[in-house]
């Protein structure tokens, strides 16, 4: 489950241009750590809230997230550590992650999620 949350976050950051060099970072090596805590009524809400938190941070803090890890996770709460660098304002292509068509399901390979984002 934690890996699902990491992979979903990586997918969102990729779509936001933070994983393929499109968003140029500012001063190299100037990496700081940010801890975030997110809550949600259930696992699905937690996932949506987590991803929307990343979008919010990118938009308002104007940071690039270079790495992330989930420190602890339960059905209703997660704590994560982000490595961030000050960056140029990235275009917020994704306005929000929605609950539309949201599916979180176990599979033979582990957990799978389907999400629809509002662009």
């Amino acid at each position: 489950m934690p890996e699902l949350f990491v992979q979903a976050a990586e997918a969102i950051l990729e779509m936001q241009g933070q994983r393929n060099g499109r968003t140029r970072t500012g001063r190299k090596g100037n990496t700081t750590t940010r801890e975030v805590e997110v809550e949600g009524f259930d696992r699905e809400t937690l996932l949506v809230n987590w991803l929307n938190e990343l979008l919010y941070l990118q938009e308002t803090k104007q940071e690039t997230c270079t790495a992330l890890e989930i420190l602890e996770i339960s059905d209703g709460r997660l704590r994560a550590r982000l490595q961030v660098q000050p960056g140029r304002r990235g275009r917020r292509l994704i306005k929000a992650v929605t609950f539309h068509g949201l599916q979180l399901r176990p599979s033979a390979k582990g957990w799978e999620a389907t999400l629809v984002v509002d662009v």
Partner: protein, 486 residues
């Protein structure tokens, strides 16, 4: 599981009106009604919008019908082009029934100038408008609001703009609800929503938001047009935008919060984006108050944009065109929940009317209309897709009887943004529009391609359906001469 629906699931009530009976699904509390001609019905059945319409008929407290306008297309939870009225006090209010862009809406301004007077200056005019009305995702304006001032704006909407010098008194009487939804409580707007919206007053945004300079190409009711100060070949301006990041954040927060609320109230729903609360519950009232704030933000936003468009017209046309000044025809919302009184089964009932991609269209004599419109009905502004015609309609007694005083809102998408970008080249589209004499100022060619006319329904078909059904009547047709978008 998604339910594939076909024409055989609908009963034809009359030409252009279809019904899905209540017995179609056991969870439905009322029938669903769809206004569409055969071609628009086919388009509606090609995505999940009709299934979504049926889903909305399961909402607690819904009365009469779940209604869909002919520009219906698939949305998040509720279809876009949907109208749902729930009976107060305990009928629900649903953020998904309003949409993420709370009070996305349209304003139309009109000058006394004719198109041939303005045409020679159109390139410069569109450039100056573009400069004075920032656009694009996350765009910021020049206005910087302190916390107390933002509070006043959220509480007072267009009244704030009047006091701050961005509006004329008559702008407010020519705006739905005078540009301020009562019951707005700024204390219920989160820090994050304020942070996202604080610097965005006076900005257009992106996507299908635009400013368009038009000419009046046809009048369908000359007397009513004269009453509104409209004439053939008049230069008019449309502004289409909403509550920007602030409204989006409000919706997002309440859709998330209400995931638990529906469990607390024992409400079962077929779609998570339909989450809701009884209107009179603390949660329901809080959402309504926060929504009202976001709606007031959007009214103020369109007012500041109108002010800057007026400045642009003055800057470019003073000394060259005699009557360049712009007066306001009207401003309408097409994503909103309003508390109104309507006739339900012969009784006057207080309802919460959700209009998501649908527009209020109050008829002559309706309560809540300013005196100027009491005889002709409320103006309704229906933008077409980029480069195509738009319409000004008037509300009718038919809309009051049949659709809770509501009508369509625009052309409605038939193709996703992603597919439109693959199908159309933005630069080629710009050239095509230019060859038709339409000046285009766009933030990106891919953004332009997303809004290509082939991605939308034919707005004239949509408007013909509503007129035939008696839920709106045509006043004027507008045709674009310049388009500004993010």
């Amino acid at each position: 599981m998604a339910q594939v629906m076909g024409k055989s699931d609908l009963k034809r009530i009359e030409d252009g009106v279809w019904e899905i009976p209540e017995r179609f699904r056991p969870e439905m509390r009322v029938p669903a009604r769809l206004y569409a001609d055969e071609s628009l019905l086919e388009a509606a059945l090609s995505d999940r919008s009709v299934e979504q319409l049926v889903n909305t008929a399961t909402l607690p407290g819904i009365v009469k019908y779940a209604i869909a306008m002919p520009d219906i297309h698939q949305g998040y939870g509720f279809p876009i082009g949907g109208v749902v009225a729930t009976q107060l006090p305990d009928g629900v209010i649903s953020p998904g029934g309003v949409g993420y862009d709370i009070n996305c809406g349209v304003r139309v301004l009109a000058s006394e100038a004719r198109v041939e007077e303005v045409q020679p200056f159109l390139d410069e005019l569109s450039q100056v408008v573009c400069r004075n009305c920032p656009s694009g995702v996350g765009s910021e304006g020049e206005i910087r609001l302190s916390d107390p001032e933002l509070d006043r704006l959220l509480a007072d909407g267009s009244q704030w703009a009047l006091e701050a010098g961005y509006a004329r008194p008559e702008d407010l009487t020519h705006t739905e609800q005078s540009g301020a939804i009562p019951g707005a409580n700024p204390g219920l707007v989160s820090h994050r929503a304020r942070e996202r919206g604080r610097n965005q007053i006076g900005t257009l945004g992106a996507g299908n938001h635009f400013i368009e300079i038009d000419r009046v190409s046809h009048l369908y009711d000359e007397a009513a047009a004269k009453h509104l100060g409209m004439f053939l070949n008049q230069v008019t301006v449309q502004v289409h935008c909403g509550s920007r990041g602030l409204g989006h954040q409000v919706c997002q927060e309440y859709v998330s919060r209400f995931q638990k609320t529906v469990h607390d109230y024992g409400i079962q729903l077929p779609d998570r984006e339909l989450v809701c609360a009884p209107f009179s519950s603390p949660e329901g009232l809080e959402y309504f108050s926060a929504m009202a704030c976001a709606a007031n933000f959007a009214f103020a936003n369109r007012q500041v944009l109108a002010h800057n468009i007026r400045r642009s017209f003055e800057r470019v046309l003073r000394g060259k065109v005699q009557k360049f000044d712009l007066h306001q025809i009207y401003d309408v919302a097409h994503n909103m929940a309003k508390v109104e009184e309507h006739q339900v089964h012969g009784a006057t009932v207080r309802v919460c009317v959700h209009r998501k991609g649908a527009t209020r269209a109050f008829g002559p004599g309706a309560q809540g209309l300013s005196a100027e419109f009491s005889e002709i009905g409320q103006p309704v502004l229906i933008p077409g897709s980029m480069g195509t015609e738009s319409y000004i309609l008037l509300g009718t007694t038919g809309s009051m009887e049949k659709t809770f005083g509501s009508t369509c809102h625009g052309a409605g998408r038939v193709m996703s943004r992603a597919r439109a970008k693959k199908t159309v080249r933005g630069e080629q589209l710009r050239q095509e529009l230019r060859s038709r004499g339409i000046v285009i100022r766009a933030g990106s060619m891919s953004g332009l391609a997303e809004e290509a006319p082939l991605a939308y329904k034919d707005v004239t078909r949509v408007v013909d359906v509503v007129e035939k059904a008696g839920i709106g009547r045509k006043l004027a047709r507008l045709e674009p001469i310049a388009v500004i978008k993010g």
